[in-house]
Symmetry: C2
Subunit: 394 residues, 2 copies
C-alpha cells in the first residue's frame, strides 16, 4: 500500500473473461465497451447504500431479491415500457444466464425437449445442455422465429405424446442475427403458447438498446395468461461484473424459484450489488447510461454497416440490426467461416463462426460480428481486413 | 433525493432474509451480528476497486474467479492456516450454498445417494433434495461424524453395487451441534475416502471462528489425493450480502465447474464483489474483522452457556461449542421441541427445532440456539424465558 492508500499488484491469473489480443480487431466479443462502464456512478450508488442501509445491504437478502431493487425496477420498467409488472411477478436474478440455469434446474427434467430458436445465443445452448435437455431447433427468417414452423413442431410432438419443457428465444435484437420478432408473430406466438401450454423463455437482454425505433411489446406482456418468462439483465445496460438481472414470470414460477434450497440457504442472489443497482436507478443514473450507450453503439453500428458495404465482396449479405450488439454476416454459399477463422486472425481480424449458434449444425457460411467493444477506427480497419480475407477465398 | 444527496424510501417487500419479531429473543437465526458488518471497510475497499481497476471489476469476470481475489485468498489462507493452496485448486463461488448447488448439478445425477452427517445443516439438505439426491444419514457423536458407521455404510453400499456421489458434512463447529471432528477421525476419514473413492464435501464456513483453540487441519488438507472438496465462505467472517465464498478441490473438479455453461455465458460469480473482497483482504481488514468477531462471539457464547446453566432444568444437556454460531441443546428424553415451539414463542423466545437437522427424522428433543446475533442482555433474557417454558413441560 503506497502513501495514497492505493495498492499495486501484478496479475498472472486472468481477472476478466475477455481476452483482447494485440493486433487483432476482435469482432468476437459480446461485451459492452469497457470505457463506458459507469465507475463513478457505481461508486456514488455504493456510497449511498453503505451510508444509508449498510446493515441491510450486507445481510442475507430476501429470496425474491431486495424490496428496494424490486420497487425501483418496477417503477423504471413502467417509465421505459409503459407497463408496471406486479410485485409478485418479479424476481432478481444473477443475470440472464443464471436465471436460465435456475429455470432448467427447477422446471425441467433431464431428457426433456427444449425448443430453441435457430440461430440463437450459443452459450444458452450450453446452459441447457448442462441440464441434459434435448435441444430441438425451430428455424427463423428475417421476421424472427418462424411461428408456423413452431406450430408444426408442436403438433408433431403432441402426436408423439411429448410436451416440450420450454421454448427459448432471444426475441429482440437476437444474438446473433440482430433480428427482432415482429409484433404479428409475437401475437401468434403468444396464442400458440397458450394453446399448447408452452413455456416461452424470452431472453430479452438487448430490449433497451434500440438505435432507430423502439421494439414491439415483449412476448411476456402479450401473454397475460402467464406462458412467458422474460429475462432482463443489467449486464448490457449497466455492468456485467455486477452479475445482476431480473425475471418476470407468473407468481407460481417466481415462488418456485424463491423456495429453492440454495436461496433458502444463501438468501437472494447478488444482494449487495442489488442494493447498489437500486441506488443507481434511484439516482437517475441508469437512464443516463442507456442514453450514452445508445448514442455510442448506434454510431458504431452505422460505421460497421458502412464499412462492410465498402470492403466486402458483393456476395456477402447482412441486415442492418435495429439494436443490440451484433451484425450477422452471411457469406457466399459454400464458404465455411470456421475453416478460415485462423486465416482471418492471421490477417488481424476475428469473429465467431456462425455454426456455433445452431443447435443442430448449419450456419457454416455466417459470421457474428460485434460492434460495441471497438472504436470507429478499429471497426473500419477490421472490415477492411475481413474484406481482404474474403476476396482471397472467392 | 434531499439536499444531502440521501434518499428516503419506504419498503413494503422484505429487503433482507431475517425477520426479527419484536418481543421475541430470536435464537433461531444463523446470521452474523448486523452491527458488526464492516460497512466502512467495504466502502473503503470499493473505493480502491473503482478508482484503480473499475473497467476490470465491472466487466465479465474470469470463470475461476478474478485472479486478484484468488491470489489474495491463497496468501491469506497461507497466513492463517499455514498452507497455501495451489492456484489451480481454488475457485471463487457465490457462497457455500451456491458451491454445493453447483457440485450437485455438475457432479451428481438425480437418484444418486448422498451420505450426510446427522445432524447436519438443514438447508444443505434442501439444496441436495432439489437435485433429487437420495440422502442417507451417517450418525455422529461428541467427536463428530462416526467414521466407523460410515465404513459400515460404505461396505454395505458396495455390496449392493451402489457408489455414493458424495459425503456432505460440516467438519468444524458443526451446524447445528457445534462439534468439531477430531484429528484422529479426520485422518481415518481421509483414508476411508481414498479407499472407497468417496468425494467428501467439507462445508467449512465456521473454521476461522474459533474461540478457545484453533481447530485441527481440514479434511481437505489431510487428503492430498483429492477426495475432498472444501467450501469456504465470506458470509460468516465478512458479510453474507456479498454472496461470496470459495472452493478448494482438485484441478479436475475446478475445471469442470469453470467450464459450465452458466459461467461460460455470465463469467465468474460475484465478479464485482470479488474485487471488493480482494481489496478488503489486501487492506488488512479481514484479519481485523475476524478478530473483532471472535472476541464478541466468544463473550456471547460464554454468556449463553452460563445463562443456560443458571436457568434450565437439570435434565437439559449441552456441550460448550469451541467456535461457530450455535449451542445444541438436548432436552429431556421424550420432549418434542417442535411441539412446544409455539409456546416458547408466546413466551418470547424462539429456536430451531432439532428435527430439522436430521435427514431421516429424529432429534425431536433438541433445539439449535444461535448466539451471534443477540446482545448479552437478550441472551440472558432468552435463556431465562426458555427455562420457564421448559420447567412447565417437565
Amino acid at each position: 500500500v503506497n502513501s495514497e492508500g492505493k495498492v499495486k499488484m501484478k496479475l498472472s491469473l486472468p481477472d476478466v473473461q475477455y481476452d483482447l489480443r494485440p493486433g487483432i480487431v476482435e469482432f468476437r466479443a459480446g461485451h459492452p465497451d469497457l470505457a463506458l462502464l459507469p465507475a463513478t456512478g457505481v461508486l456514488q450508488a455504493t456510497q449511498v447504500v453503505l451510508e444509508r442501509e449498510a446493515s441491510q445491504a450486507l445481510s442475507y437478502g430476501a429470496e425474491q431479491g431486495p424490496g428496494c431493487l424490486i420497487k425501483q425496477l418496477c417503477a423504471w420498467l413502467e417509465h421505459v415500457e409503459g407497463e408496471r409488472p406486479p410485485l409478485t411477478q418479479v424476481m432478481i436474478t444473477g443475470g440472464a444466464s443464471q436465471a436460465l440455469d435456475m429455470i432448467c434446474m427447477l422446471l425441467t427434467e433431464p431428457g426433456d425437449i427444449a425448443l430453441v430458436q435457430s440461430p440463437t445465443y450459443h452459450l444458452a445452448l450450453r446452459v441447457m445442455r448442462d441440464h441434459h435437455l434435448e435441444l430441438l431447433p425451430v428455424p427463423s427468417d428475417d421476421e424472427g422465429l418462424r411461428v408456423d414452423a413452431l406450430e408444426e413442431t408442436l403438433t408433431l410432438l403432441q402426436r408423439r405424446g411429448r410436451q416440450p419443457c420450454m421454448l427459448y428465444l432471444v426475441s429482440t435484437f437476437n444474438n446473433p442475427s440482430g433480428i427482432t420478432l415482429t409484433l404479428e408473430r409475437r401475437n401468434a406466438l403468444a396464442e400458440l403458447a397458450q394453446h399448447y401450454n408452452l413455456i416461452v423463455v424470452e431472453d430479452d437482454v438487448y430490449y433497451k438498446l434500440w438505435y432507430d425505433t423502439p421494439p414491439p411489446p415483449s412476448i411476456y406482456s402479450l401473454t397475460p395468461s402467464g406462458s412467458a418468462i422474460r429475462l432482463g439483465s443489467f449486464s448490457k445496460i449497466l455492468a456485467p461484473g455486477l452479475r445482476l438481472g431480473w425475471m418476470l414470470a407468473t407468481p407460481k414460477i417466481v415462488q418456485r424459484c424463491m423456495k429453492s434450497g440454495v436461496l433458502d440457504s444463501g438468501g437472494g442472489l447478488g444482494h449487495f450489488t442489488a442494493h447498489v443497482v437500486a441506488a443507481f436507478i434511484e439516482l437517475g443514473l441508469l437512464d443516463q447510461q442507456i442514453k450514452t450507450l445508445r448514442a455510442t453503439y448506434r454510431e458504431r453500428r452505422n460505421v460497421l454497416v458502412g464499412a462492410l458495404k465498402d470492403h466486402l465482396p458483393k456476395e456477402c449479405h447482412w441486415l442492418t440490426p435495429q439494436g443490440g450488439f451484433f451484425v450477422w454476416l452471411r457469406l457466399a454459399q459454400g464458404m465455411d467461416s470456421t475453416a478460415f477463422l485462423q486465416t482471418a486472425e492471421d490477417a488481424g481480424v476475428s469473429y465467431i463462426p456462425g455454426a456455433r449458434f445452431f443447435a443442430d449444425g448449419g450456419g457454416d457460411n455466417y459470421c457474428r460480428l460485434n460492434f460495441t467493444m471497438l472504436s470507429l477506427d478499429e471497426i473500419e480497419q477490421g472490415a477492411h481486413r475481413l474484406g481482404k480475407v474474403l476476396y482471397n477465398y472467392l
